[in-house]
Amino acid sequence: MREPTPPEQDTLRPHTFDGIQEYDKRLPNWWLVTLYATIIFWVGYWFYYERAHIGPTNSAAVEQQLAVIEADRLAAAPSLDDASLWKMSRNPVFVDAGRATFETTCASCHTKELTGAIGPNLVDHLWIHGGRPTELYATVTNGVLAKGMPPWGPVLGSKKISEAVAYVLSHHREGEPIEVQAAWVPPPPK
């Protein structure tokens, strides 16, 4: 262990601020260890990501995570076709869950009886944007922005939407006629 240098023999840094000068002392070793450790880490990091490209780039990492989310979503969403939606519409568990969603979310425009008010009637055979189950599903998910039907996909998610569609379909039978309606005319205000 070296004796401390007497102050008068200490080296001074050349700069002066407001008459204040500082000694040129050694940094604590533990502090230097952290500095050298980060330098060594940087070399490894730089080699791993920037030189050898073993690690993914930032954008690749993001893409990868997005793909995971997309895969999860695809796995969660049932593969919907007309037949499976019709099947759901005959399942009481599905229909009950769909009723709950319909009454809190859809009924404010389509009414609880589905006979239509602001939005069109859903129990007659007239359909504006397609009456097949998958068309119904698409209309609910994507909305009809020009007419005020919001896209419910981001709000409700595919599970609740398929339940609500099943609930609407429970008022219909497979094979019944589908007629095209040009536009919905709301009933006169009471």
């Binding site: 240098t5 050694r26 604590p28 008010a117 922005l145 919001p150």
Partner: protein, 495 residues
């Protein structure tokens, strides 16, 4: 062999070659040591018991990050109340300024978790296993023999154990005790992130309290560095009464000097009085940051009061008044009176008071629910043959741990406005969230341009309410009338 006294030109705990001399501060006994021990035990008890105490069905402090619900002594805050953090942070800042201006670094010595846990837990363990400062120094210099290895193993084992306990209780602040217990009982692989957090945190505590110690206060903590900016001549600090203590000399030196004076035949009254400091260096030996307080206020001083007790002890034995090292202001040490009321303390006090008042008011506006009203995606308004229509999504958040019936009402709505959706009370489960559409229609005839209205929700008993102003949008009323005219005209006869 007298060790060289610390100097103000370099840090005691950093040698010329950058290595770190480990300090072995000696024990102290006395009123401050006792008072600090009592307050520290109370503080540790308080911090460690918070997750165990139940207030309103939740632990007294439970920062549930996963569910974004923050339970504080019965008050539940949601992520939407995050703005209150502003008051917490500024409040901490102003309290720190205010307290420091008055009492110096009283926080460091008495309340900082670093000091409290280091002095009252880890140093106690060290004292128990390794003995007093002299034995610790000797043991440190001794070669690694069986006994030393055993002592080191036991000491570091206890350090790790205590660190693990503190880390677990700290985690309980964020996930609650039953959850911690569940994780402890299960295999690490089942929740490796919590396990890794725990391992890193335990390791950090062990490193900090086992080895790093005063380096944190001297090199890392910014508070000590702000000392010179936050205090002035009238702030209370721990200091050495130079006027009373100097010229310092040991008792032997004093006797020698007195004898020489008398031998020279000089009258007794002409001898300049020796100072009260007997240069025993106890104040240096007990200092946990390795400074000599007699060289004045230094950045390293954490205000731990060890030197006060050490010096008082010596002074008492010599039948001299204690307080050679004491709590006083720089003004006090130079013989002037300490001014407590000064522009700095008054300003900090007023700012603190103002902040506290606003924070109290802000806290009183926190409701056990949250209301959000946003326009539904798509056209901002829709004009049908009879109505102008606006569509909103209403988000109701229940922050209580019991179901609530929310009642929605429209206020300041113009005549004729029709509401569909949310007409009936909406039940929201405990800590639940509900999103429902709210459709507003204004008959064309009663539409006179865009207007504002208020959405108000309350519980069924109206024990609290929340309001949001919304904007009902629509076309320029002249355009609407023109369109109506055009539609009427083709049918007008005689054109």
């Amino acid at each position: 062999m007298a060790a060289p006294l610390p100097t103000r030109d370099s840090v005691t705990t950093i040698r010329e070659d950058g290595s770190r001399p480990f300090l072995f501060p000696a024990d102290t006994h006395g009123r401050f040591t006792l008072a600090r021990r009592v307050s520290a035990v109370l503080l540790i008890g308080f911090y460690l018991s918070l997750p165990w105490i139940q207030v309103g069905g939740y632990p007294a402090v439970f920062l549930d990050i996963a569910e974004r619900r923050f339970h504080l002594f019965g008050l539940t805050l949601a992520a939407q109340d995050m703005w209150l953090l502003f008051f917490v942070i500024t409040g901490l800042g102003f309290s720190l300024f205010f307290v420091t201006a008055l009492f110096g670094r009283i926080w460091c010595g008495w309340a900082c978790p670093h000091t409290v846990f280091l002095d009252q837990v880890y140093r106690r363990i060290e004292r128990l296993i390794d003995g007093d400062a002299v034995s610790r120094r000797a043991l440190d210099a001794a070669p690694f023999t069986g006994l030393k290895i055993l002592r080191r193993t036991v000491k570091h084992g206890l350090y790790v154990l205590v660190s693990a306990v503190i880390a677990h209780l700290f985690l309980a602040y964020f996930v609650s005790l039953p959850e911690v217990w569940k994780m402890v009982s299960a295999a690490p692989a089942e929740h490796w992130s919590a396990f890794a957090f725990m391992a890193v945190y335990t390791g950090g505590l062990y490193f900090n309290f086992g080895w790093f110690r005063e380096q944190l206060c001297i090199v890392i903590c910014p508070y000590g560095r702000l000392q010179s900016a936050l205090i002035d001549d009238n702030s209370l600090v721990i200091g050495y009464d130079t006027a009373r203590g100097e010229p310092r000399m040991t008792l032997a030196e004093e006797r020698q000097r007195n004898a020489a004076h008398l031998l020279a035949g000089l009258p007794a009254g002409t001898l300049a009085k020796a100072g009260d400091c007997v240069a025993c260096s106890r104040c240096v030996h007990v200092c946990p940051t390795g400074i000599d307080i007699r060289q004045g206020l230094q950045m390293e001083c954490v205000g731990c009061t060890a030197c006060i007790d050490a010096c008082d002890d010596v002074m008492t034995r010599l039948h001299r008044p204690r307080g050679l090292i004491r709590y006083d202001s720089q003004a006090g040490f130079s013989g002037r009176a300490t001014r407590w009321l000064r522009p700095r303390t008054a300003l900090y006090g007023v700012l603190l008071l103002a902040g506290a008042s606003v924070a109290t008011w802000a806290l009183s506006t926190v409701r056990p629910a949250n209301l959000g009203v946003t326009r539904i995606i798509g056209a901002p308004y829709i004009v049908s043959s009879d109505f102008v229509r606006n569509q909103f999504l209403v988000r109701l958040v229940n922050k209580r741990n019991q179901p609530v019936q929310f009642v929605l009402r429209l206020e300041h709505a113009p005549a004729g406005l029709r509401q569909t959706g949310l007409l009936e009370p909406v039940a929201v489960s405990a800590l639940g969230e509900v999103v429902q559409p709210l459709v507003l229609q204004q008959p064309r005839g009663l539409y006179h341009g865009p207007f504002a209205l208020t959405v108000r929700i309350s519980d069924a008993a109206d024990s609290f309410h929340l309001s949001r102003q919304i904007e009902f949008l629509g076309p320029d009323v002249r355009l609407l009338r023109e369109e109506e005219e055009e539609q009427r005209e083709p049918h007008a006869p005689g054109r």
